[in-house]
Amino acid sequence: MSFMKKPKVSHSGLPRNELGLSIRDYEGSMSTLCAGCGHDSVTAALIQAIWELNIQPHRIVKMSGIGCSSKTPAYFVEAAHGINAVHGRMPSIATGANAANRSLHYIGISGDGDSLSIGLGQFVHALRRNINMLYLIENNGVYGLTKGQFSASADQGSTAKKGEVNRQPPIDPVTLALALGGSFIARGFSGDKDQLVPLIKAGLMHNGFALLDVLSPCVTFNDHEGSTKSYAHTRHFDLPAAQADFIPRKIPIQAVTAGGEAIPVALHDGSTVILKKVAKDYNPMNREEAYQYIQKHRDGGEIVTGLLYINEDQAEFHALNDTVSGALRDLPYPELCPGAAVLEEIQQLYR
């Protein structure tokens, strides 16, 4: 970790976004993660994506649980709302917050321990309810905060720093989400921001639960030879299947899709995700084929990355439950709290 705060000085030619803010205005406090931690790169990618999307800092809610990953929200968009929940319980708090105010951008940051071990039950239900949020897992295969034990995402045969071999099969959040009916499923790598930033942007603008599994190497406990989650291993076995380009609504799509095999997917806010097939035999619009492809390549040791599945037509939480159209705080008080007489009526229905 570093004890030096990033000084306030910045490049004199730094561009500004539509809100007149520079990328430095989207930073958070000083990171206390290990030097070289993949999570810090994810933070930088988040800052880049949010700045490019021209989102006002106070329209963002950052939520996390416990773990190295869950420290991340402290390191970006200082002016946003946020909560650091109990271990593995962030999804239910996100669900509640989203139910109360659907007009904000929700970013949940979790890790392989927080989401795939203690919080697995919470994670799958948030996904099943299709809560409108970006759910980002910083996945490094180890419990870094407790000195590097294997986590639930560690691959079979991967070795710990001192040579111990992991024998248990991993939980892959991507195939899990495919099986459970997730509406937006993607995988990125902290060491490839060209791929990661558009995935974050598309995930943030997706209408529903956007799962983004980011391989984010633990530089202290899981970046050695024999590790399957190291920088070198991930780079070597990375298999980008479908590239996502996020197109804001102002730019005509035709200009971007001209030439090459590209599928435009319209998002509910009028922007578009352009899917470009990197692997010829990959179809990110077909759940079964995507599942088969990822599984097949995983058996061969390859890590399939990119925007792996998207379905914009799947109803999200508020549509499923037929809720009011705006945030609850915008309702006139008599409507939000109609009084004892109405409560009595409702209770009568259940008698």
């Binding site: 570093s2 306030k8 070289g36 810090d40 790169s41 902290s190 920088y231």
Partner: protein, 592 residues
């Protein structure tokens, strides 16, 4: 792009913008650090090594370092380098005991220097420790040359000047005052082993327009007039004064006039304000004293009543750009009244005393042909330096000429090839002290440039010898030293260690770093994290990296040398290393 060759000393040297821009390559960041530590004598000595006259230059240097200063690119204003140099000079202790000893047994070689200005004094300074016998011929009653005659005492006190000259002349120079050299031929016949000409550019340019010679008592040549003031021959001037020309001599003339009784002084410039030759700070100081600088006025003729000057007529000009060149057109003419008129439109070197048949060639402009590197004229053993060599430059250039000439003279006297010069070398050493500790002050201090205090506007005119600038107060010095960005603490990259985790890139406050697929410079500059529009700053490009074959690119332009890249690097692929540029002087290459 090809990987940057960091083994070339120039690569890291030019990162230290101030040192690179300084003709004498003074190690600015290191002396600022010494001042920060209160080690003023050491700071002075480090300065003296390269620029010989820190007390003088700390007041009147042309400061090519300051426009070059990196701080000016990331912040509004550069570090007040020159002002800090003066702090070291003002607070230093005893200097003479720290200078290299002058041997009592001489090496038998005799060197003649013409003129006791900064160039000749530098030659003497460099050659004395080697056992040379140096004789300086000076036409005035006092040594110092232009520094004494042309720079007014309210900018450069005589004591400061004399002290630094004595540091050299007291070490065994034969200083012949009141001894003008009338003939180069005669001088050469006296058997000196080498001759150095540092006689300056002593002839002020004339303005030959109607009426110029009709009232000679009230029309003056700037540098001659300043010289007369310096030696006390002139002590008064009329109330209304016009200065023709707007260079630094004009600024000295106008401010001197105010101290000799003038109340209404105008500087008349031919060019528009943005194109005037005077340094910004010299103009600011003139404006502070309520001097009017009037641009776009070209002198037309002198106006006289009888044989007494009344003023001058000027053409009023309008400037416009045409096909990339500035053109002027005349709008009309206007009269300005004056009691005295001072011409400060430039100066040139003049060598009526150098015979033209002794092997010293002159070009069409009657300037000697001198080799820029060795300072030797076309006659072996005769060297030129300072303004005498290439026309008016400035003190710091003259000092550098002196160093180079001394090196040449040494090699010449030892019978060595003078074109073969010892190389500049560069030394690098890590500044890492502990896990999060560096041996330099790497915290970025956002303070604005300190403003040097001046003597009050009524007080300063009481006497021409009252120095206007007071120098920094201790608390100002304390802030100003921390504004230095430590450019000599270099970001050194070891490509084989890099795991491409992006940590340095993410943490860099000024977006200097990019991991990119290599390309041609034009293409690469367009793909960096922040716009790399400053072409004067070269890109650093690493060897291809092991994992992806991409390269680490650093745009040096706005790096603040905070060390966060090295602090954040998990594999120590980045290190902060202090560079010391070793410039060879005559005494670094002892002869046989």
């Amino acid at each position: 792009m090809k990987p940057t060759d960091v083994s070339n000393p120039d690569h890291f040297h030019r990162v230290v913008d101030c040192q690179w821009a300084c003709p004498a390559h003074t190690d600015v960041p290191e002396y600022i650090r010494l001042i920060a530590q209160g080690r003023f004598t050491e700071a002075y000595l480090l300065n003296r090594e390269s620029n010989v006259f820190p007390g003088i230059l700390g007041r009147v240097c042309d400061r090519p370092c300051e426009p070059a200063c990196r701080r000016g690119r990331v912040d509004e204003k550069p570090v007040a380098i020159c002002r800090l140099k003066r702090v070291a000079a003002d607070l230093k202790g005893e200097i003479a005991p720290h200078l290299p000893p002058v041997p009592t047994r001489k090496n038998g070689k005799r060197i003649a220097c013409v003129g006791a200005g900064c160039a000749s004094l530098t030659v003497a300074n460099d050659l004395l420790p080697l056992g040379y016998e140096v004789t300086i011929f000076e036409k005035q009653q006092e040594p110092g040359g232009l520094m004494r005659t042309n720079i007014p005492a309210f900018r450069l006190p005589t004591e400061v000047l004399s002290e630094e000259i004595h540091l050299i002349t007291d070490r065994g120079v034969e200083l012949l005052l009141d001894t003008p050299v009338e003939s180069m031929k005669a001088l050469l016949e006296r058997g000196f082993d080498a001759v150095f000409v540092g006689s300056g550019a002593p002839r002020g340019k004339n303005l030959d327009v109607p009426g110029r010679y009709d009232d000679p008592a009230h029309v003056h040549i700037g540098i001659d007039w300043l010289e007369s003031v310096a030696f006390g021959h002139i002590t008064a001037i009329g109330r209304k004064v016009l200065i023709i020309g707007a260079g630094n001599t004009a600024m000295d003339c106008c401010r001197t006039s105010l101290r000799l009784g003038a109340t209404d002084v105008k500087v008349m410039a031919r060019k528009p304000l943005t194109l005037l030759k005077a340094s910004d700070w010299e103009m600011e100081e003139a404006l502070e004293e309520s001097i009017a600088i009037i641009p776009c006025h070209a002198p037309r003729d002198f106006v006289l009543a009888g044989n007494r000057i009344q003023g001058m007529n000027f053409d009023v000009l309008d400037y416009h750009e045409h096909d990339g060149t500035l053109e002027s057109s005349r709008l009309g003419s206007v009269f300005f009244p004056a009691d005295d008129i001072i011409l400060a439109i430039g100066q040139e070197n003049a060598f009526p005393w150098v015979e033209r048949d002794i092997g010293i060639d002159f070009d069409q402009r009657d300037v000697p042909r001198v080799d820029r590197r060795t300072m030797q004229s076309t006659r072996p053993g005769v060297f030129f330096g300072g303004d005498a060599a290439f026309g008016p430059e400035n003190i710091i250039w003259a000092v550098e000429h002196g160093h180079q000439a001394a090196l040449s003279i040494h090699r010449y006297c030892q019978g060595e090839e003078i074109g073969l010069r010892p190389p500049v070398s560069l030394h690098l050493a890590s500044t890492k002290m502990g896990i999060h500790e560096w041996s330099y002050s790497n915290r970025y201090d956002a303070s604005a440039r300190r403003k040097v205090p001046h003597v009050g506007l009524t007080e300063r005119f009481k006497n021409i010898r009252i120095e206007v600038e007071r120098g920094f107060a201790p608390e100002q010095t304390q802030v100003e030293v921390e504004r230095c960005l430590n450019c000599d603490i270099q970001t050194v990259f070891f490509a084989p260690k890099c795991i491409e985790c992006d940590a340095c890139i993410d943490v860099c406050p000024t977006a200097c770093l990019t991991l990119a697929v290599n390309g041609e410079e034009e293409d690469l500059r367009g793909r960096l994290k922040a716009p790399a529009n400053n072409r004067k700053q070269p890109l650093f490009v690493s060897e291809p990296l092991t994992q992806t074959g991409r390269v680490m690119v650093k745009d040096e332009d706005q790096c603040v040398h905070c060390g966060l890249c090295a602090e954040r690097c998990p594999t120590a692929a980045w290190d902060m290393q202090k560079s010391i540029v070793k410039i060879p002087y005559a005494f670094d290459v002892p002869g046989r």
